[in-house]
Structure formats: structure tokens, C-alpha cells
């Protein structure tokens, strides 16, 4: 593990030399480090960029930029990252809120999933997880670096829903959050977001399709790239209705027709939601993943984000969430027992 930390620090240093700020949704072009061996895009037998493999999208970059960083989108180097955090922490009397929080702290349904497990206990956090090097200050790109405000009526709806959920949360399985019910984990997207643990995914490319399986609750996307239109709007889906195409060496995927219960960054998506993702392999080990979420019925404006996913050696294991959901029955029977007291 220690050896890995060292090598990732070296990687960080190399990347910091070559990285230039990239703005939201600007096309990414593969640029090998000058010092590295010349790298050419590997291709599938039918000539498309080969994105296949197992990747980690774990990151320590928070979704929203810490307020003390203002419009600063990139740290200058690793030392700057450490110094900024320390400075902010000192300025606020060492308060926990000042330190950058990992993306795992994102809690779309406000149900405390971020502290669901102590991931370090299972060897799933810290230096045991491979992460792509990044000097980004936030996953959300642009000068604001955070998800824009929800429309007032949506804020009201979200607050009402949350209050209802809290008041009725133990009444039945259907009153529990989607993740606890093993319906969606809330991170599979699109946009796909890093998860607190098991933040791994595997890409397989067949003729006319790109398959992406995410380890968490084995959610799988099969994205057609054969030029077909979206499916009927009557069919709303938990992971939306995705179609893809290649723009040069970038896989571009557009998704609509979300199930109205899908929550992205704390907000329910409307029937106007459209998410655009861009996958660009930039070197032997890295895919840059960019996304734009546009839902004029939910947020005051669209927002974009970006992170790198890094190739890992391991395979994915089966995460049989529903099949092993003993917690659901235990929680509900506990609630019934409590009522009888």
C-alpha cells in the first residue's frame, strides 16, 4: 500500500506539470506526458477507441468546492492543496467543516448514507483505494464550483418530501430511501458519481453498444451507439434512456426519460431533464469523464462536472444488494417492536 501511495504522489507531480485548466464540456484531447513513452489510442476491432477495462472513479475531490477557495478551480500542486486546507482549517479554529470533504459525503437523499459504514474498517477507504490524480478543487466545474440552486417550487417540494419521509420513515419498506430498498444507489446516474465504497465500474464494448456495469448494486447501462433515437417517453427509467455516439475519439452519451423518483444531487429530476456525458481516454490508465446536467424545471441553470477514472487490475464482484437486504426486515420489525413498548 505504501508503495502505491508513493507512486501516486509521483503521478500527481507528473500530472501537475502537464495539467492545464479544462473548462466544462470542452473536448478533451489525449495528451501523453512529454516524458512518457508515446501512447497511441488503442482501438477495438471495429476501429473505435478502446475504453474497455475495470476502472475506479473514487476521488478525494469533493462535489462542491469548499467556499474558502472562491473561484479557484485547480490547486497549483499537491503542496498547495495541503496548505489551502490547513489554512482554512486554522482560520476556522480547526473546524471539521473547513476541511475538504470527499465526494462520498454527497448524500442525495439526506439519509446519512455517507456514514453507513466505516469504510476504513473494511479496507475500502484511504490509501487502499486507487484514485486518479487530480488537482481539481471540485467535481463541479466553472467559477462557482457547486450545484446551482433549485427553483423555489422544487425546494419546497424537496422539503415537503423530506418532512413526510421523516415522519413516516419506518412505516413500510416503501417508505425507506431508494438505496436502502436496493432500487438505485443514487450514484449510478447518469451522471455517474463516485460512491463511498466499491467505487468501481467495468466497460465492455460490443458492436454498436457500450456496456457499463457499476459494482454498486450491479447497475448496468447498455448504451446503443448505432444512431437510434431515444425510446418512447412513456417509458421512464431509473437510469434514464441513454443513446450514444462517437465525436472523434470521445464517446458522447445523452440521457432523457428519467423516472420522476430519481434524485440527482438532492433534487428530483423532471421530465425535461437531459444529461450529456463525455468519455475520453487520455492515456493508458485514464478516462476523463465529463457531464452536463440540464433540467430547467429543477435548477436555475445547467451545471457541469468532470473527474478522471483510473484503470485498476481487479475484477468487479457481485453486489447482491436486494438478495442480502437483511437490514430492511430487521429495521421494520424493530420499529414494530418499539411501537408495542
Amino acid at each position: 500500500m505504501r508503495r502505491y501511495v508513493l507512486s501516486s504522489l509521483i503521478a500527481l507531480a507528473v500530472v501537475s506539470l502537464m495539467s492545464a485548466p479544462v473548462f466544462a464540456q470542452t473536448p478533451v484531447t489525449a495528451k501523453p506526458a512529454p516524458a512518457a513513452k508515446a501512447w497511441t489510442m488503442p482501438r477495438t476491432p471495429d476501429g473505435k477507441p478502446d475504453l474497455q477495462g475495470v476502472y475506479s472513479n473514487a476521488t478525494t475531490v469533493p462535489v462542491a468546492r469548499p467556499a474558502y477557495l472562491g473561484a479557484k478551480e485547480f490547486y497549483t500542486d499537491e503542496a498547495d492543496k495541503v496548505a489551502s486546507a490547513a489554512q482554512a482549517s486554522a482560520g476556522r479554529g480547526g473546524g471539521r467543516a473547513a476541511a475538504p470533504r470527499p465526494a462520498a459525503a454527497a448524500d442525495p437523499e439526506g439519509n446519512g448514507l455517507a456514514v453507513h459504514y466505516d469504510t476504513s474498517q473494511f479496507g475500502l477507504g484511504g490509501p487502499t483505494v486507487k484514485r486518479a490524480a487530480s488537482l481539481r478543487t471540485s467535481i463541479i466545474t466553472g467559477p462557482e464550483g457547486r450545484v446551482p440552486a433549485m427553483l423555489p417550487e422544487v425546494q419546497k417540494l424537496v422539503a415537503e418530501k423530506r418532512a413526510y419521509q421523516q415522519a413516516h420513515q419506518w412505516e413500510s419498506a416503501q417508505n425507506r430511501p431508494l438505496a436502502e430498498r436496493c432500487i438505485t444507489w443514487g450514484f449510478e446516474g447518469p451522471p455517474m458519481m463516485p460512491v463511498g465504497y466499491n467505487s468501481t465500474l467495468e466497460i465492455v464494448q460490443g458492436q454498436g453498444y457500450v456496456g457499463i456495469v457499476q459494482e454498486m448494486i450491479h447497475d448496468t447501462r447498455v448504451i446503443p451507439t448505432d444512431g437510434r433515437p431515444h425510446g418512447p417517453s412513456e417509458i421512464k427509467r431509473w437510469m434514464g434512456d441513454s443513446v450514444g455516439h462517437w465525436e472523434g475519439d470521445t464517446l458522447v452519451v445523452e440521457t432523457v426519460n428519467y423516472n420522476p423518483l430519481v434524485v440527482v444531487q438532492g433534487a428530483p429530476l423532471s421530465d425535461a431533464a437531459k444529461v450529456t456525458e463525455r468519455f475520453t481516454r487520455i492515456d493508458a490508465d485514464t478516462i476523463t469523464y465529463q457531464f452536463t446536467v440540464d433540467d430547467p424545471k429543477t435548477w436555475v441553470k445547467p451545471f457541469s462536472g468532470e473527474y478522471n477514472m483510473v484503470h485498476i487490475d481487479g475484477g468487479l464482484y457481485e453486489y447482491a444488494c436486494h438478495e442480502g437486504n437483511y437490514g430492511m426486515a430487521n429495521n421494520l420489525s424493530g420499529a414494530r417492536a418499539t411501537e408495542k413498548k
Binding site: 476491432p45 419498506a173 432500487i183 467495468e202 465492455v204 458492436q207 446503443p224 437510434r228 436486494h322
Partner: protein, 275 residues
Amino acid sequence: MRGSWLLVGAAGAALLSLAVLPTPAQAPASKAPKTKDGKPNLNGIWQANNEANWDIRPHAAYQGPVYTLGAAYSTPAGLGVVEGGEIPYKPEAAAKQKQNFTDRLKLDPEIKCYMGGVPRSTYMPYPFQIVQGTGTIMFVYEYAGAVRVINMGAPTKAPADSWMGWSNGHWEGESLVVDVTSLNDSTWFDRAGNWHSDALHVIERYTAIGPDALQYEATIDDPKVFTRQWKMSMPLYRRLEKNAQILEYKCVEFAEEVLYGHLRKQPLQGKGDSK
């Protein structure tokens, strides 16, 4: 007169067919389109079109387990997919199958939205898709969103048992052969309670029999439950709709009432069968 001409014609046809038959030394002509790297191209959305999910053995039609659902949810007759028709259960294992059948409303993992396992996922009445990569082949099943990624490289070993098992594959001529191990003991072969233990080892063969059909074979080995190996086989058909795709059947929400309904604060009134 007419009869003898027909006879001559038939003899001619026979000769002709002999002439075009491949000699034994030649490999049979490929029935599958090829990928650009020369492998049989199994990409596509496939589905069985048989009654194996109700009972893999030959069976006449019979009443479904919920009388109120009448003819709509009763069992269609099926010729069976087990080669030889009979499953070679050990005596105590055969008794357990009968008990499973009696208690199927309580025990069938399909009712609970549990992943179907292998081979059952192949012939459940839902499509599945093969995404044929170069080092891996992804099988995505509509039912319960089950998925497995078949390793086509050097075989690897499972870290633990799982619902969909651990799949190592290789090509044998025109066939994709998948060796599936480390399956857990919680899936069934069908709704009739045909079952296996965690010693189950399945060898699957997928072979094209035309551009739009595959022959599927699964050799079943489970010495805890069966007296010998046995085999099931069936064709799988390509979904030919232009817009065919795997949709979501995230069935957890359809199974919650049956799994957790007894733990509700307020029981649901007047919905569904209380049994």
C-alpha cells in the same frame, strides 16, 4: 409416369446434396456472422421461447398457484429442455423438489426478485443481451438487472460464491464455452422447484445455428444432488425488432410487499391475495 419422374428428381436432389456436403475433414460452414477479429459474432438481444421457466421437464398444463389469477397466470404445457426428459435426482433430492413445488409460493426465488443464477437466467421469459468485447463478454439480463462479465483471458478463481457465479469463457471452434462455478445454493432451475446445491458446476455452450438463432446447452454437474451429470438444451432467438433493447425490470418494488408486507405499520387493505 409422374411418380417415376418424382423419384428421379428425388434421387438427383440426393446426389446434389451429397455433392455439396462438406467432407468430414472440413469444418462446417459458420452459421454465425463474424466480428472483425474473426470470432463468431454473438452480439445481440436474445431470448428463449419456451416453457422451461415453468418446468424444465416435460409437463402438461396445470393450474397456477394463485387461483384468483385464473387462466392468465397458469402454467403452459412444455416439451421440456432436459435431454432424456428426466433429471437424475438422488432420492432425497427428488423429495425436496416435490416439497419445493408444494411450497413454491413461499420459496421460489423468482417471486422475491432474486437474481436468476445460471442457467435459469438464460430462459426466463425476459430478453438478455450479449455485449461481446475483446477480453470480456458481458451478459446483461433484463430480469432483476442481473449481469455477469465473462472473462475470456486466463481463467481466474472466484473470491466467493454468488448468485450469478464466476464465469471463465473460451472459444471452441464456433462455440462460446463458459465454465460457471461458485454459484450459491439459493437459485432454482424453474418455478417447479427443481433445485441444486452450492456444488453446482455449469458448462454452457452457445453455438450459432443461423444468423438469428443460437443453440444453448448447459451441462449440469452437482454430485450433492444428482446421481450423474445431465444436460439441457434449447434454441435462443434474436429479438429482431429494430428498436429492441434491454429495458429495466428492477423488480424489487414488486417483491417488497411479499417480503416485508407483514412488517408494515398499516397492512395494505384490499390489494392482492392475502395468502
